[in-house]
């Protein structure tokens, strides 16, 4: 569930990129949930054309997913398309530069150009990519060259086939039952997927089709391969079909890549380069078989496989098996936790530790050292502690401790319960304190969205205020004087705001996407 500033920030991005009208449509989808075209027209008070065009823009840029809701009602003959706003995809628009950098590091410039086009235009066919690549060049770029780059991006899974236009999603859900080994008829209830998750799942083709370039895997409306028709197609028909397939950036893979990067860097700073190398090798070897981005544990691998993967890397060749084992132990894979000789690393723990460090740094800066110690004491434990106990453990005076704890509680960083105590004729309250981690992280994430929104507003504000200076011809700015000074100041401001927003975005991903 996204909190209020998350939505405000997403809407700010939509407004900035596509304008007020599109933003209004998007806002109604966020505030009111799934809506049909008619409902959107009613709520936004816009014309039918305005709403339609807005939806087309949002769908083109993968910010909205249309779908058909199958309510099994045979009497309901009129099937209506509903629209779902995709919060994650909207916020991903902030991190397009990071996605481009990823491709630049992993692949090449040509791939970056194709990805750039996909990010700017939302979705493109192969023909559109070729046309785009040829713009402003003397000689047209051949389809073969563009196709090769597209293949590289598909192999790396940075690009995917666009989803089905209007997948059908059922309103009912089935309880998932899994038999536990050794337990008779034990049923484990899995949290039912949200409608958003089911819509996205229904829209997504299988991996074989999703990352395949070949035209013989074109889907029909039901998402089935038209395999019977394929062999009848001529080569020319296949080429035409291939050129009509729409492609888009696969945000999931970019987020996975960035998550892996954060996991490795955190392990490097907490332990050492060797342990980071081992983790990096494990993640690289298993990235294509990870079921989802937020994997709690790495895919189990045998020691032999891990050793082989580690020794493939430049830095890993220097590590002995004992060293690799020691690193796995540092990553929490003790002999007692290894099952069937397979090692699985607790990735969730690394992410949670990184989150805790971020929250603690906020507490330190905002409330000071004493509050920082008290917060960390409560964070490390899972039970309630009373004020006096906290004061004694953290070497803070009781009155001061109460003041800081109350401040933290007021700002939703702590949970508090009161217990009345009667001593003689007097009764008083004893305050008990605790960190409620899940709620705390939701609160901190919303504050981060708030801060990101503020940074963006400030950037827009600075740009507007200093439009004159920005429009001055460059040769005039080279002359020393107040104008040059003002321009330099503006550059510094822009750099600071921009880099702060990108750094804050890393924290947004840490708390929301990882």
């Amino acid at each position: 569930m996204v909190q209020q500033y998350g939505i405000k920030f997403a809407l700010h991005l939509i407004n900035k990129h596509f304008g007020n009208v599109v933003s209004k449509v998007c806002e109604n989808l966020f505030r009111r949930g799934l809506l049909t075209l008619d409902q959107l027209i009613q709520y936004t008070q816009l014309t039918k054309d305005q709403v339609k065009n807005s939806l087309l823009v949002l769908i083109q840029h993968n910010c909205v997913q249309p779908f058909l809701l199958d309510d099994d009602d045979v009497n309901n003959l009129k099937v209506r398309t509903q629209y779902l706003a995709l919060f994650d995809n909207i916020v991903h628009r902030l991190r397009f530069p990071k996605f481009l950098e990823t491709v630049l590091l992993r692949l090449d410039e040509e791939c970056v150009d194709i990805l750039d086009g996909l990010l700017r235009d939302g979705r493109l066919t192969l023909k559109q990519m070729v046309d785009r690549a040829s713009q402003g060049k003397e000689n047209t770029v051949t389809t073969k060259v563009v196709r090769e780059s597209l293949c590289k991006l598909l192999t790396a899974r940075f690009v995917e086939r666009c989803p089905a236009r209007e997948p059908v999603v059922s309103t009912s859900f089935k309880e998932t039952t899994i038999r536990k080994r050794g337990v008779k008829s034990a049923k484990i209830f899995e949290t039912p997927k949200t409608l958003e998750q089911r819509v996205l799942e229904a829209a997504m083709p299988g991996d074989a089709i999703r990352f395949s370039l070949t035209a013989d895997t074109v889907l029909n409306v039901d998402g089935e391969k038209k395999s019977d028709d394929v062999q009848m197609n001529s080569v020319e028909e296949n080429v035409v079909e291939e050129e009509q397939i729409l492609w888009r950036a696969n945000f999931e893979e970019f987020i996975r890549h960035l998550r892996h990067k954060v996991l490795i860097e955190n392990v490097r700073s907490q332990h050492d380069d060797g342990t980071a190398t081992v983790l990096s090798a494990v993640l690289e070897a298993t990235k294509t078989v990870e079921k989802n981005v937020k994997m709690e544990n790495s895919v189990p691998l045998s020691l032999d496989t891990i050793t082989t993967e580690v020794m493939k890397t430049d830095t890993g060749r220097a590590l002995t098996i004992d060293r690799i084992k020691a690193s796995l132990s540092q990553l929490g894979c003790s002999s007692s936790s290894v099952v069937d000789d397979l090692y699985s690393i607790d990735l969730k723990k690394i992410i949670e530790q990184a989150r805790n460090e971020d929250v603690e740094s906020i507490v330190l800066k905002r409330y000071g050292n004493d509050a920082y110690r008290m917060f960390r004491l409560l964070s490390k434990g899972s039970s309630f502690l009373d004020t006096d106990k906290i004061a004694a453990c953290t070497l803070v005076e009781s009155k001061k401790a109460l003041k800081f704890l109350t401040q933290l509680w007021n700002d939703n960083y702590l949970h508090m319960e009161t217990v009345p105590v009667v001593t003689g004729r007097r009764s008083s309250d004893i305050f008990w304190w605790k960190v409620n981690q899940p709620l705390l992280w939701i609160n901190v994430l919303d504050e981060m969205y708030h801060a990101a929104l503020n940074l963006s507003i400030k950037m827009a504000d600075e740009q507007k205020k200093n439009e004159e200076v920005l429009n001055v011809p460059k040769h005039k700015l080279k002359e020393p004087g107040p104008l040059q000074k003002e321009y330099k100041r503006l550059l510094n401001v822009w750099l600071l705001l921009g880099s702060s927003l990108m750094k804050l975005d890393d924290a947004l991903m840490l708390f929301h996407d990882f």
Partner: protein, 240 residues
């Protein structure tokens, strides 16, 4: 800095002879003195004295003044209720419940002393690279930095505070490398700060921007009185 000047809890006066005391006291004084004496190192509040002895306020006040002038009783600060007059027989040292513990001096937390002990312990751990609690304790006693003997409990409390400050990390010895001098599995401490200096600034992304440390973030709105456009913290931050 009384901890460094030797007025430690280890020094106790000899008990005075009660017989000598009783001869020079009036009945009221004797009643009060016996009551105060019976409370030993916990002492007693004047309000409780009046309640238990049923003596009028003026008599109690007068007697307490006289007993104090004869050095038979003393007033102490009760950390639980600093505003109340609390008395104790002269020969007793106030218990930890009254004083607040080893780190309290005259009813106040001696933060200067605490910080001094923290600095000294952290520097030792930094120099040693790996240190056990016993190592820190032994060194604190041998080094002569402190005039009073620092107890095991105090060292434990200081180490816990340093862990909570994120200046040191509590780990278990692996027996290898820097841990070779520590038995495998023994709890020990390593320095997190690079220079052995306390309070090295660590900043997450949010803590590096004005909004991250702003006490008014919950009142801030895009177009409100407090907003990014009007924010004084932003103006200061962008003042190049």
């Amino acid at each position: 800095m009384t901890h460094l000047q030797g007025s430690s809890s280890s020094l106790k006066r000899k008990r005075q002879d009660l017989a000598i005391v009783s001869e020079s006291l009036t009945d009221a004084e004797r009643v009060l003195y016996n009551l105060i004496h019976s409370k030993k190192d916990m002492g007693i509040w004047t309000g409780d004295m009046k309640r238990e002895t049923n003596l009028p306020d003026s008599i109690v006040k007068k007697c307490l003044k006289l007993l104090q002038s004869k050095n038979l009783i003393k007033d102490v600060v009760n950390i639980q209720n600093k505003g109340r007059k609390h008395y104790m027989a002269a020969e007793f040292e106030p218990s930890k419940e009254i004083t607040g513990g080893d780190w309290y001096n005259q009813g106040r937390l001696d933060t200067e002393f605490i910080n001094l002990v923290k600095d000294v312990c952290l520097k030792y751990i930094f120099r040693q690279k790996v240190a056990t609690r016993d190592g820190v304790l032994e060194w604190s006693r041998k080094s002569g930095v402190f005039r009073v003997e620092v107890t095991t409990q105090q060292i434990d409390e200081i180490l816990r505070a340093l862990v909570l400050d994120d200046d040191i990390v509590e780990v278990k010895s692996t027996g290898f490398g820097d841990f070779s001098s520590v038995p495998v599995g023994r709890i020990c401490y390593i320095c997190k700060s690079k220079g052995g200096i306390r309070g090295e600034q660590k900043s997450g992304a949010m803590a590096s921007i004005p909004c991250g440390v702003c006490p008014r973030i919950n009142s801030c709105t895009p177009d409100g009185i407090i907003s990014p456009r009007t924010c004084v913290y932003y103006q200061k931050w962008l003042d190049f």
